[in-house]
Symmetry: C2
Subunit: 222 residues, 2 copies
Amino acid sequence: MLSFTEENYLKAIYKIYEKEKDVASTNAIAERMSTTAASVTDMMKKLAAKNLVIYEKYKGTRLSPTGHQIATTLIRKHRLWETFLVEKLDFSWEEVHIIAEQLEHIDSDKLIERLDDYLDRPKYDPHGDPIPNAEGKYTLREQIALNQLYKGDKGVLIGVKNHDDQFLSYLNDLKIGLGTKLEIIDKVMYDKSIKVKIDDQGPVLLTEKVSRNLFLKKTNQN
Amino acid sequence: MLSFTEENYLKAIYKIYEKEKDVASTNAIAERMSTTAASVTDMMKKLAAKNLVIYEKYKGTRLSPTGHQIATTLIRKHRLWETFLVEKLDFSWEEVHIIAEQLEHIDSDKLIERLDDYLDRPKYDPHGDPIPNAEGKYTLREQIALNQLYKGDKGVLIGVKNHDDQFLSYLNDLKIGLGTKLEIIDKVMYDKSIKVKIDDQGPVLLTEKVSRNLFLKKTNQN
DNA sequence: AAATGAATTTTGATTAGCCTAAAAATTCTC
DNA sequence: GAGAATTTTTAGGCTAATCAAAATTCATTT
Ligand SMILES: [Mn+2]
Ligand SMILES: [Mn+2]
Ligand SMILES: [Mn+2]
Ligand SMILES: [Mn+2]
């Protein structure tokens, strides 16, 4: 049985090398866990002793197959709970992450599977992130960030990169959510801001910072 | 913010003086928590320093108003989660307690209230135990243990005293659950066992040990 | 009111998780 | 490839939660 903390470390390592990297540096882990490199070193030794990570002094840490499986299950639980909170308890997408951070540690295989059934085996969570199945497999969708599109392009929002409360609330204000249709009316070259039509409403200007964080499925040909 | 452990201590104290007692002895708490008296003493000092309990050396411990409120909320969360697991995820009543022991520590007021709504503000959990409302109030029903009834008496099962997996599974085998109608066909004076008719099935013999643990609402006059 | 036995508290240790500061290893720069 | 800068590890220490064993207090019986 792993502690809450150990589980969070495994998830941190997973997240780090989900982003291209094939090894998680001590400092990167420390940053993600909001702790010190010294604490990370201690924990890596402990997790290595339990065969959950492969840790090499000064070289960094990778997940062992077991560690990888545990991390994937945590992601699965996290995303299923987020889906439950939004779909069944009517929470808004910016509220659920913080609660799911707790719920993901509940230990019961049967509970996860029942929850998955109850939600009709969802493939994506309220932020558009893929939910691994019981075997840890998930399929990525083709998606493109809004700032990569051109004038005249159309698409549907299928995910967000940034999950911050603030960012998501801003999207709520703009009436932008998963499934929202967006059409690029104009791009301002000077600051890369983008004028878009949102569903069937009047056009709105989005900064480049915002547009980089919106993932679309293109719906026009080009 | 309280630790998982601190919360469990508060709940243990609550449970102890739910059973008549007006003060929880160090040993009683130690037994409930499966720990030593020494550990309990340490924790009582800590909880007293946080004004969650009133602890007097050698005299025992009581809950402060704050401590009582926290304990009641824990019970509320525990019973709501148990209800969720049975009503929505189709768990059986003997499976839910162990999972609810984890879920009760999830910290989110909004989550509890949403869950309560979602379940249609249930008044009783899957074992027939009352669920405190948001103000910590609950109403006890009039109930009588099966072993207190007489030949010819009829009733409906509305609660169980013992919550053990084993006991509940035995009731499942007998097709006895909350809502089951029971009628006393005969009482054996020698060993106090009771012959009952279960719903509309043939009669079954229950030992006194079993009958003491079944709470009924009487449905005949007498 | 002393003696005895039970309950409770104190004492001294241990483990997990964390930290700061110092030391060591690695990587970068010229 | 030597020295500087950065990263990582080690050393030493702290707190929360736990325990076993010793000491103390309380309750009961004579
Ligand atoms: Mn999340
Ligand atoms: Mn998510
Ligand atoms: Mn229970
Ligand atoms: Mn219950």
